[in-house]
């Protein structure tokens, strides 16, 4: 999608520029996968994500130990039959914490993405389609939010709400609303200029009907693609907040948190906690990014 729009829009996260087809309307896409033939990679990525989700869901069945109970006398033990990945500083089984950690690591981004989409999508539709005052107000608010670096905004909001899992989710959701909203607004504006919207108007369809029965299905592939990418980015952000101690609080198991505690164990020679958490995060994010990139390809191809 090429736009004849300058990078002069108020606000700093301008994704719509003159002849910048690579950025299109979707924010921060990977542009790694070739235009075609990415279906197999997308499938592999989906399988990995689904696998991680299943493991997290079946945590009680799969984890050999209680992730929050530890035997201090056995702290920082190496790999053994009892503890495949060893134990952490509190004697808790790392493998179990890793498995349970998937729950917070995956649920959090899901919450952020769903919330951000739930707020950003309708607002974006309205702002893009109706324009005028609604657009001005909404866009100005988003511009303000986008004037902050995303994670810094998250940290600020967490400071206001108070550190904690739900607090972090709400904070990041607020920070992500403009990302989704801006994209939806842009896509809606493009759709609004297409003849079928005029045709609907002429037939006397209500705005709600046009938006939900016609425009929304047209932009859904883009929305899904962007949501997938947002899932990946918020996964990193939330784990980062947990690492900083502002997100998930101990003793709940979480990958970001395990990175933090695992780092402490490094000097003492125990690296499995940190390494496993890092690998888990990387695998999850890379898979989500690949899937998101493939979805973006497909969404753009269908336009």
């Amino acid at each position: 999608m090429r736009r004849r729009r300058p990078a002069t829009a108020i606000g700093t996260k301008t994704m719509i520029t003159v002849d910048a087809p690579i950025e299109s309307a979707v924010v921060r896409r990977l542009t790694i996968l070739p235009r075609g033939g990415s279906a197999r990679i997308a499938l592999a990525a989906s399988i990995i994500i689904a696998g991680l989700a299943v493991i997290a869901l079946c945590a009680p069945l799969l984890a050999p130990h209680d992730p929050t109970q530890g035997d201090l006398s056995n702290a920082l033990a190496g790999s053994s039959a009892q503890h495949l990945l060893g134990t952490d500083q509190n004697g808790r089984d790392i493998l179990s914490r890793l498995i349970y950690g998937g729950r917070t690591a995956l649920l959090g981004p899901l919450g952020v993405t769903l919330l951000a989409t739930a707020i950003g999508l309708p607002l974006g539709l309205l702002a893009g389609h109706v324009g005028s005052v609604v657009d001005s107000v909404v866009s100005r608010v988003w511009d303000v939010l986008l004037a902050f670096p995303t994670t810094v905004l998250g940290i600020l909001l967490v400071a206001a709400i108070g550190p904690g899992y739900t607090g972090a989710i709400i904070a990041m959701a607020i920070a992500y609303v403009p990302l989704m909203g801006r994209m939806v607004r842009g896509a809606t504006i493009v759709e609004r200029q297409k003849p079928y919207v005029d045709a609907c108007r002429v037939q006397g369809f209500s705005t709600a009907r046009i938006l939900f029965r016609h425009v929304l299905p047209a932009i859904t592939p883009l929305v899904v693609a962007q949501a997938t990418l947002n899932f990946g980015y918020s996964l990193l952000d939330l784990a980062g907040l947990a690492y900083l101690g502002l997100g998930v609080q101990p003793p709940t198991a979480d990958w970001g948190q395990m990175l933090n505690t695992g780092q402490g164990g490094l000097v003492l020679g125990a690296s499995s906690e940190m390494a496993s958490a890092a690998i888990a995060i990387l695998v999850a994010v890379v898979s989500v990014n690949l899937l998101g990139d493939a979805l973006v390809n497909r969404a753009e191809a269908s336009r």
Binding site: T8, T17, I155, L156, G240, V285
Partner: protein, 315 residues
């Protein structure tokens, strides 16, 4: 052109004001009343509490408090740090140089490595260099600085002992030595971003018809790619730089915490945890102001490079 810069400058100033209002307002009613913190949990008489409230102007209406704070910041007075029992300026001030140095170091790495990788991948599209860059970009994009930082720490610092574990070191070479790992950790996801944008953008330009026409005029590949193609590829890369600066700023917060660098980022997290809101507000304001200024510079550069952007209508 000047009209554009003027307008953009005005926008930036407005942004600064509005964000400062948000920063002040968000923490206005934050949990952990300053009074409780100041009193250290001791029971105070009503008069003592009232005296404290008056001393810290906590009894004034919101906008007045905001105005007081704002005028203070313009004069360089950000209030009092409750945790350090010192002025915020004294606490925050010394933290700025390490953060600046870290950011500058990382920026240099990103500019050199990222752009080079992107150019290589675009010029050798479809061959080994391109595949390698793409794979690196894929993994690098997932490496938020706390992930890359801890991994680097584990391998190069604890493992190999090549780099110090934490701290920002004393000035000069020692500082560079200390800041290298954090800067590398910080730059990895940014290099991925710049490289992939540069590659995509340059590839797209190289496919354009005017490149073929330039070849037909007998120009060398070096001139075509170096002068014409790169300039054409610049605008999307510049646009993405705006985004990248955001990641750079957020990233320094992570990198500083991983490596214990005594900069703004580590102080920020400390202050959030100790509910020292005056410091939080000051640091966030500084970071956001830097972001706004950097984006202003990027937008102006964009318009300077591409003349078509100067006369285009507003969206």
């Amino acid at each position: 052109m000047f009209l554009f810069v003027g307008r953009r400058l005005a926008v930036a100033v407005i942004q600064l004001f509005v964000t400062s209002l948000v920063i002040f307002g968000v923490l206005y009613n934050a949990p952990g009343s300053p009074i409780d913190l100041l009193s250290g949990g001791n029971r105070l008489s009503v008069e003592a509490k009232e005296a404290l409230r008056q001393r810290f102007h906590l009894d004034e209406p919101f906008l007045q408090q905001y105005g007081r704070w704002l005028s203070g910041t313009i004069r360089g007075d950000f209030g009092q740090s409750i945790a350090a029992n010192d002025s915020v300026t004294a606490v925050v001030g010394p933290r700025i140089p390490p953060t600046l140095q870290l950011a500058a170091y990382a920026f240099l790495l990103v500019a050199i490595v990222g752009v080079t990788a992107g150019i290589l991948a675009a010029v050798h599209r479809g061959r080994i260099a391109d595949t390698m860059v793409s794979a690196a970009v894929l993994v690098g994009s997932a490496m938020s600085p706390y992930v890359s930082g801890t991994l680097l720490l584990a391998t190069l610092s604890v493992g190999m002992g090549w780099f110090p574990l934490f701290g920002s070191g004393v000035a000069g070479l020692d500082r560079i030595h200390h800041l290298t790992l954090p800067a590398v950790a910080l730059s990895i996801p940014l290099i991925a971003l710049i490289a992939r944008t540069c590659r995509a953008s340059l590839s797209e330009v190289l496919n354009r018809e005017f490149i073929e026409v330039l070849r037909s005029r007998g120009f060398t590949e070096r001139r075509i790619v170096g002068v014409h193609a790169l300039k054409g590829a610049l605008v999307p890369v510049l646009t993405v730089s705006g985004l990248a600066f955001g990641f750079l700023i957020s990233g320094t917060v992570f990198a500083e915490n991983v490596f214990g660098v005594g900069g703004l980022g580590s102080l920020l997290i400390q202050s959030v945890q100790s509910k020292d809101y005056a410091v939080v507000q000051a640091i966030v304001l500084i970071l956001v102001a830097a972001f706004i200024v950097l984006n202003l510079a990027v937008d102006v550069l964009c318009v300077a490079v591409d003349p078509r952007l100067r006369s285009a209508p507003k969206p």
